[in-house]
Symmetry: C2
């Protein structure tokens, strides 16, 4: 089931990502509506042609008009919204999301929906260090990965529709993972990297270092400027997978530490070679 | 003492950095000579107008003709070269280097030079993930930092000349640090970051992750493709400073780990805020 241009799409939560979705879909000619907390964001999006209509209320009419609803909310806010408002969603609607953790929300939300409403979860792996619809820019989807995260209760139709949404948004690569696979992958590739960057910035408060720093430190800590509200929630919602990746990483860090302490140059070079070989694979264009 | 255009400059070691020095200096009209191991590199540099003359031998005439000698060698190779050939350097010559560790080499080399020859050490904080004169590109100096690393035995004249060399090469910022300050700074900003990137790549061998990865992982591990011969030498030559920075970092990593394990969201968010505030200072243009 391809995403056809006559579909009306409602974005719930017009922050950075919600704004990027709206922007990309509007450009392609879709009707885009929004429900979000602040009137200022609605006004901004209307003035800049990012949405067709928007409201700060949980508006039954807009919800009923939508064929597809994209939830661009923090995980716990998304859960709460569904608990309170799921009954307003009309049968036949497909809902999706942008949430960065899956196992802890996908099954729960699928179980709370009215008959005929299907939730197909997705994770757009794109973002910026700044938030808000005012910073939205759909170029962030270019060259980025989009992951569809179905469960056994999803239909093939909804999975195809969700893939088609990812293509329409402009993502370079669309993949499919189970919620459990997704969370393990994200613990390593995304959450652990943020933990490392935050720990490094906390380890040394010498501001003078700015004037000596090179690109390697800047690149490695780019993500250390972090949205603490969102990421602390994501970390706790994926706690076991994250702790397990942190354990594995600390083990190799300690191993490298020991090679330096003991002057074991051969083993140190072995680790560096392993690292180089693996890293070169990540250079490849996807 | 400004670096005047009539100075003849000899580069010993025509690898990536030596090649960048030669390229930048030739463009500005200096006479540039080179001594390096491989005839292929000499030929390449001559054919591409990067040097005026070059040789694979320790040529007494070229050494005597040079006013300034830049050693772009690995630290231990540099030391060995000086032990064997220092007597060939004529009085009045100023020598400098590009070495990434200082305390363990600067004093030693200064003590081995003939009378009238002065060694003023420097660290150009620029590089690429690829080596060799064939990959040289003097654009890497733009926006980069150049650190002059004098000891008490250096003259003001040589310090000024070395600063002037950094400006001529096109560095954005020239700083001065003692060898001890330099090594502590480099342990944190450069060596620790390389240890982190290598450890992270060694912690997980799942090649499939390539297709899900986002920019944060790619940026954080860019330096994990590492020259194992050079970096293992640099790590061991700066062992105490590096181990101490690794200890401090592991302490904050463990602290963050504990906040996740114990669900202590407030402390986790405090660390993220500290991290964000500090990281934003590194966004500033120098």
């Amino acid at each position: 089931m391809k995403l056809s241009k006559d579909k009306k799409i409602l974005i719930v939560g017009l922050g950075l990502l919600g704004g990027c979705y709206a922007m990309a879909l509007k450009k392609q000619g879709f009707s885009v509506f929004a429900i979000t907390l602040s009137q200022e964001d609605v006004d901004y999006a209307l003035e800049n042609g990012i949405i067709d209509k928007g409201t700060t209320k949980v508006d039954e009419e807009i919800i009923a008009e939508a064929d597809i609803i994209v939830f661009a909310l923090y995980p716990n806010v998304f859960k709460k919204w569904i608990e309170e408002n799921a009954h307003l969603i009309k049968s036949g609607t497909v809902i999706t999301d942008v949430t960065g953790v899956k196992e802890c929300i996908v099954y729960d939300i699928q179980s709370r929906l009215p008959k005929g409403v299907e939730f197909i979860s997705a994770h757009p792996m794109a973002g910026r260090e700044v938030g808000g619809v005012q910073n939205s820019d759909d170029k962030i989807f270019k060259n980025a990965n989009y992951i569809v995260v179905p469960t056994e209760s999803n239909t093939q139709n909804a999975i195809e529709l969700c893939k088609s949404l990812g293509e329409t948004l402009g993502f370079a690569k669309i993949s499919v993972l189970s919620p459990e696979e997704h969370d393990k992958m994200i613990a390593f590739l995304s959450q652990l990297t943020h933990c490392i960057a935050v720990s490094l910035m906390c380890a040394n408060d010498n501001e003078d270092l700015v004037k000596y720093t090179g690109d390697s430190f800047r690149d490695l800590t780019r993500i250390a400027n972090i949205n603490d509200e969102m990421w602390s929630e994501l970390f706790l919602l994926n706690r076991d997978a994250l702790l397990s990746e942190m354990d594995a990483y600390r083990e190799t860090f300690d191993k490298l530490y020991a090679t330096i302490k003991n002057g074991n140059r051969e083993e140190m070079r072995d680790m560096m070679c392993t690292s180089s070989v693996r890293r070169r694979k990540f250079d490849k264009k996807n």
